[in-house]
Symmetry: C2
Subunit: 233 residues, 2 copies
DNA sequence: ACCATTATTATGTATATACATATTATGTCA
DNA sequence: TGACATAATATGTATATACATAATAATGGT
């Protein structure tokens, strides 16, 4: 086959990815400049540029202005996980989504929460706990603290038909977020809620969200140990 | 300040992100077409296009050809985790990296491994186990199976100075991969190796890699329960 | 009404050109 | 030699233009 392939930055990107994967361009090596590649692929420099930029975003290339482009030495490839709404996640897996509200009160937030959100201690926040089920099986236990200053309107919501997650998604988008994954053990209450044994492993996702530096919510989402997060790249 | 900001697709992207975050453009709403925005920001359509495309890649916008661009209703925002080489991960956290080879043998791989790699059962594979430490603290236990057909050269490697991970990174890049995160409990041997108690929680990352459909390696990377994977978005 | 064909439209991509910017290499003067 | 200004260079971005493509809307014939 001809090396030129045809054109379209997709094809060019794929060809360059192949060269990297097959070590035609070895790790650490300087690859030809955009102009040269443009001639080789017989396309415009802008087209090569787009392909190169996307590969650089993916972490397989490293670019520096005058220095040129080289193959990443330590391909710190990024894994992308889409974090969908639980309901969608369950429905995509073919389950029937249900959720159960466990509690919904205004309380003083514990310091573990206020500290991470950058709020003063003894802050009154809305504390909502609920359980998401796939059919009759507990799927995720959601333990959420909401900054009422940021979304005062949520105070009047009963969460009888909509989960706090979805309420927030449709009423208060966020601009920044921090997500943490870790493994833990089910505590007494968590075990009971998730219908697993105490001291069973649980998969915990914590998420902090902000709009323009302003803290919105802190949520711990706890899955039974059987839960798996999968991604392809 | 003027709504036009200046130009540069970065500024335009930021301004559009602000409008989405502040609900000037509500979820589900159709936003103006590229031409209109180009006039508004007094720039070329291509510039608006780039900003819009990046926002769409980030999941906050949904674009469809003739239908136009609308704010994502369910912002299935993607979390990006960079999966660095363990050594870098430890050194970035200020630790001193060490690794210890635990075993290195050619064995029949268990079906759990061969099945996931799409190999026939009773396949002889290279089985390497090692421990990565931060200072004196066990950080990650790596249990790896390698397809000798794909990388025969690895048979002669002793892994005395280089870990199998780094060997593979520098000698055999991959084109596809599947990554799984989940929570588990430490088994007897894992507990001993990681210096945690049996039945303590562990954070498990499994990775399967392929080059052009050809299976390369299956690896289980097991961290003590205290491990946290963090990302910002 | 119904279906197939055609026009319309918004986004997607390619191109040539121009200038901006970061970084390295070079040259000059003290 | 060393500090500093200057040139050279590869990537970064903006622009106008053109055409491609997908999806919808409009059209027309049976």
């Amino acid at each position: 086959m001809t090396a030129t392939a045809r054109k379209s930055f997709h094809a060019i990107k794929a060809e360059m990815a192949r060269r990297i994967a097959e070590r035609v361009w070895a790790p650490g090596a300087l690859i030809p400049g955009e102009e040269v590649l443009a001639v080789e692929f017989s396309c415009a420099r802008a087209t090569v540029n787009r392909a190169l930029q996307e590969l650089a975003r993916g972490g397989v290339l490293v670019r520096k202005r005058k220095a040129g482009t080289r193959v990443a030495l330590h391909p710190m490839r990024e894994a992308r996980f889409v974090i969908p709404i639980v309901r969608q996640e369950i429905e995509n897996k073919g389950g029937i989504y249900q959720f159960r509200l466990l509690s919904n009160d205004v309380e003083k937030a514990p310091q573990t929460v206020t500290k991470r959100l950058g709020l003063g201690r003894n802050k009154e926040m809305l504390h909502v706990r609920c359980l998401h089920l796939s059919g009759a099986e507990p799927y995720q236990y959601e333990d959420r603290w909401i900054n009422l200053d940021a979304v005062p309107a949520i105070r009047n919501e009963t969460f009888e038909t909509i989960s706090p997650n979805e309420w927030l998604v449709t009423h208060s988008p966020f601009s920044q977020a921090e997500i943490v994954f870790h493994a833990g053990l089910a505590g007494t209450d968590e075990a009971e809620i998730l219908k697993v044994d105490e001291k069973d492993p649980v998969f915990v996702i914590e998420r902090l969200t902000f709009v323009l530096q302003k803290p919105i919510t802190f949520v711990r989402m706890i899955h039974p140990g059987s839960h798996r997060m999968v991604t392809q790249l």
